[in-house]
Amino acid sequence: MYPVQLANRYLTSRIIPLIAVAAVALCVALVVIVVSVMSGFLDMLRASGRTLMGDVVITNPIRGIPWYGQLIETIEQLPQAQAATPLIDTYGLVRMPYPEGSEKEVVTTNVWGIDPSSFNRVTDFSNALYWKPPTSPQAAAAMLPDDPRLKLSDKILNDGLNVIKSDTGEPGLVLGIHVSIVNERRRDGSYIPRYSQWFMPLQSVTLTLVPISTKGTIAEPRERVFPVVNEFKSGVYQIDKNRVMISLDEAQKLLRLDAGTLYDMQAPPNADGTLPVLGTSPAKVHKVLVRAKPGVTPEELKAAVIGAYEKFALDVEFDPSKVVKAPRIGNLTIMTWEQQLRDLIAPVEKEREMMRILFSIVYLVCAGLVLSIFWAIVQEKTRDVGILRSVGASRFGILWIFLQYGLVIGAIGGLCGVGLGWLVIHNINFIHETIGQDAPAWSYVASFIIAAISFAMSVRGLTTGVLLSTLLWLVLGITITLVGIGLTLHHGTLIWDPSVYYFATIPDKVDWFTAITTWCGAVIFSVLGASIPAAKAADIHPVRALRYE
């Protein structure tokens, strides 16, 4: 029992263990914060990817997938599939309504042609639409008083969901929230138009698409004016900055992928000069997105979709009424959403693992800190070791005192570190935004006042002849002065650039797996760090310990 009592007394009667606890806490907090942000980033990337793409994607760019309605029917009969939707995925130019004058801004965009009803069943489109009235009085109360959404009706949401301007029946267009430069993101994450006259859902834009033939040649570009019916926010900055959505029909028309008559180009013309008709050229899409039923993994769904596609391709092959056949399975790609986003996800995963490994060095820092602090403590407590041996304490008992000491420092330090990490992660966006703004005047004025007081105390210490007090106040004064100068010169630093990191906000969820493993690591390495001085203490010769000066 005496090792427990002595370890407890050694811990509570001096300041050096507190320094060790603080050092371990900072090390653990560092790992928890860095890896949590990386993990959160990865999770956001995954969640957004799945939300926007469904679970499995069938892709045949340029040439397209014909008879996709039949394919979707086949897929939706699968027990693993919940829904499937066709998609046009291309690039185009959008002429924005601003600025004033004839020279309007033109942006390059990724254009998705969607079938609104099925698209909403496969993706989380309705939630992604940004402009909509609050769903409850509580949600309304949480919004800022000038939030434009407070004045909106369900009409704007329905228009967005149907990609249609219900007043006029015109086909509409949904912009990513960051495509327009008008939307300004505020601290609470909401958006407000910088200039109310350019509130995008009241505007029209001109979309230009370039049809590409099956041979890869470019045809005459086609353009059309679309009223903006809503804007969407996926959370992935790159998508919100670049993507616009229109209805599938409009996209097919603009890209000449809609249904038409198929003429025999090789045969001689008919008597009236027209070419002989071979049959119908079906409408085509570039992708089919498939959503899995709950409990079905993307891999399981992918295997089922491959089977369904083979069946569909065979059915089309042996259907004499269908002149245009479906591409063979080897000529298109069927991938899970994760495989589809592999290029994006894999480097982040690798970076996170690299971070974990690099920051594992923190464990060694913990061990080194505890070792050096304990070495000093054992040195100081040498005589105590002799005393304990003289009353019959065993070497193991001595060893256990210092190992417990390390255990407690690692456990408490690790716990404090996890707490600190949680606090920082929980408020990371607030901290980031605060750093991103000019320091308020009161902060540097207060710093300079505290610094002046510290210098005055230092002078007072000098006059009373207390050197330690003089020095401590002087160091504090210089430090606070430097902080004040730093705050004065600080004019906002953007650390998390959404255009680099995809997301507009920094992930603020703690990676608890990392937090727990880091805590365990801190405890283990603190005990390991303590073990060498502890063994040294146990090995001290009792007589030499008693005579130690």
């Binding site: 029992m1 005496y2 009592q5 002595l6 007394r9 050694y10 009667s13 005589r383 105590d384 002799g386 005393i387 304990l388 041996r389 003289s390 009353v391 019959g392 304490a393 065993s394 070497r395 008992g397 010769h541 009792p542 007589v543 008693l546």
Partner: protein, 234 residues
């Protein structure tokens, strides 16, 4: 079978200081009968503290020298655990510089040997040990100091706590190394009175001193010169 409670024969001890070997004990022998108080008198460097350390198994004598017997049994060959138990229960040490643990209170210092002895069963033995230690400290006039730290005590009070600690497990032998060496004459006298009181109740004492006046309180004086017993007198 020896008649002595504690006996040492032909003890040699050599310390190595760098490349130099310094012989401290050169064949010293010593006996202590049950209930006897023996003073080991000698000047500084004569080997008297070393002899006490060897008697208390805090140190080991040279390989080819004699040995120590307690209650007729050789103690040199004892295993680690038995040597620890010997220091904990058979003998009690008192040092010149008190050697109290500064983080523990007076009562906790006095209970230290009990805690070491009890191990994991300390919780069940605590009440009884605490009662014994409190009585001992009360008898030494320290009842008002139980919760004080050693730094808050005078030299005499510290030495009384050290004696209470040495007697916590009711050992048969008290090994005292200059117990009054750091105290003024009056306080030293009070400490010797305490020790004498315990001796009268049957405690065997081996006490190292360089002060003939202190040695005079003992039943017998063994004089040590240059690591050898130079003479004895009653």
């Amino acid at each position: 079978m020896s008649n002595f409670l504690l006996e040492a024969k032909n003890l040699c001890k050599t310390y190595t200081l760098g490349r130099v070997k310094v012989p401290v004990l050169r064949g010293a022998s010593f006996t202590l009968a049950q209930g006897e108080w023996v003073a080991i008198l000698g000047s500084s460097g004569s080997g008297k503290s070393t002899l006490l350390h060897l008697l208390g198994l805090l140190d080991e004598c040279d390989a080819d020298s004699g040995g120590v017997w307690f209650d007729g049994n050789p103690v040199a060959d004892l295993k680690f655990s038995a040597r620890n138990a010997y220091r904990n229960q058979s003998v009690g040490f008192v040092f010149q510089f008190y050697h109290l643990l500064p983080e523990l209170s007076v009562l906790e210092n006095a209970l230290l040997p009990n805690m070491v002895n009890a191990g994991m069963s300390w919780v069940s033995k605590r009440a009884q040990a605490q009662q014994h230690a409190t009585e001992l400290l009360d008898a030494f006039g320290l009842s008002h100091r139980l919760t004080h730290k050693p730094a808050e005590l005078s030299g005499g009070e510290r030495q009384r706590v050290a004696i209470a600690r040495a007697l916590a497990n009711q050992p048969r032998v008290l090994l005292a190394d200059e117990p009054t060496g750091n105290l003024d004459t009056k306080t030293g006298g009070e400490i010797l009175d305490l020790i004498a009181a315990k001796h009268r109740k049957g405690l065997s004492i081996a006490m190292v001193t360089h002060d003939p006046a202190v040695a005079a309180r003992a039943d017998r004086v063994v004089k040590l010169v240059d690591g050898r017993v130079a003479g004895e007198r009653d």
